[in-house]
Subunit: 211 residues, 2 copies
DNA sequence: GTCATCATGTAAGCCGTTACATGATTGC
DNA sequence: GCAATCATGTAACGGCTTACATGATGAC
């Protein structure tokens, strides 16, 4: 699952580990809090598998270090570049390791996205949907409908026996809140599915075009 | 976390493993899908720690096997009891192991509930809140406010940089949905906190009593 | 010259899963 | 008698966390 996220982010542009983590925190609420203890080994593993490769930073303009308003013009920036060039090997020079996705990585990404993972929980689904632009329309629809079916099934399981009447107020509140959350998710999925079927982009305004 | 759930359920009445799992599936949406592979070892561990003890089924009326409308009167039920008594040791007789919580178990439960676990994620919080009746009012309030603070912080982290404008529609939809979910959670917590401060039960009607 | 932040990594371990293996009970 | 469900367990493994260790860079 982490692999999927990493490959998905790297598909847009080369990044280094630290930056990947920031994007996971800020961008997707899902999978926030991935720790370096899992992120870096994952990167190393993916590189070993040939899915990623380390690149020269010069070759990857978007992944560069965040320059914060150089007070002495651009001089310090150039300095850094010169200092970097002065040393030798592609790694170790400036401590950062910027990764780029390879063709093999894109294959792997497609596999993971299509459903290599057996169970799909909340996180897994959210992640797949976030990268759904890489899926074929039919696969997208299948993803959404599979998730919807799961949620509906869960709703059936929860409310079914004897109601929530016998629980104390706290437990009841938790259950009710959870149920409402799932119902909300189903409505959301319905909107996405409708948009998908209409072959319109998901952001389309639903109040316009009555038929 | 599983331990907390087990002890919490067993605090109400003795249960066997299979039944505990059912209640986790049906009752709390959280922690649904606990597998036997983790549940049974957990029960064994808790028993070894003296937090649980196996009981004679006769001594635990509520934990009895679900009798499904005996067609021949109550005869088959009595049969089962007789057959059970015919054999010897407290375990193995009828394959089920019914557990009861001990005083030590209640201590452990209180510890876990109070916050022995370091990080509190969604699940951990939901579980604690579900058993919040066992907490002192101040601890309850602290739990709710801590969670609220976490969610507000997350909201700040997510929307902050450059907005969601640069994401594709799918990713944007995921992020927006997540943000709305968190906002909804915060409102829910606000209601619970207000109820808690007013020393009213959590289900109290908020539209009445303007001040 | 020191502190915060950026940046990468390792080691130990927890908590849970899947897959497998087994057996009792009951309905038909 | 056979299948479905109830019921308990074991073994192997996976993925992620915490805690630790290290060092570069830049701001003041």
């Amino acid at each position: 699952m982490l692999d999927l996220a990493i490959l998905g982010l790297l598909d847009s542009r080369p990044l280094h580990g630290y930056e990947i983590r920031r994007q996971l925190r800020e961008g997707l609420g899902l999978l926030a809090n991935v720790s370096y203890g899992s992120l870096y080994p994952a990167l190393a593993r993916l590189e070993a598998a040939g899915a990623l490769e380390a690149v020269d930073e010069e070759a990857a303009p978007h992944a560069g270090r965040r320059v914060r308003t150089p007070p002495t013009g651009s001089l310090s920036g150039e300095w850094a570049v010169l200092r970097a060039r002065a040393r030798g090997n592609a790694r170790g020079r400036r401590s950062r390791r910027v990764y780029r996705i390879t063709d093999r990585g894109r294959e792997l990404f497609a596999e993971l996205l299509a459903g290599a993972g057996p169970a799909d929980d909340e996180r897994s689904f959210g992640l797949r949907l976030a990268f759904a632009r890489h899926l074929a329309p039919q696969a997208r629809l299948a993803l959404l409908e599979r998730r919807r079916a799961q949620l509906v099934q869960r709703l059936g399981e929860i409310g079914a026996p004897s109601g929530t009447g016998e629980l104390d107020p706290y437990a009841r509140s938790v259950v009710e809140h959870a149920v409402e959350g799932i119902e909300r998710d189903v409505l959301w999925l319905d909107r996405l599915i409708a948009a998908e079927r209409g072959e319109r982009p998901v952001g389309a305004d639903t109040s316009v075009r009555p038929a």
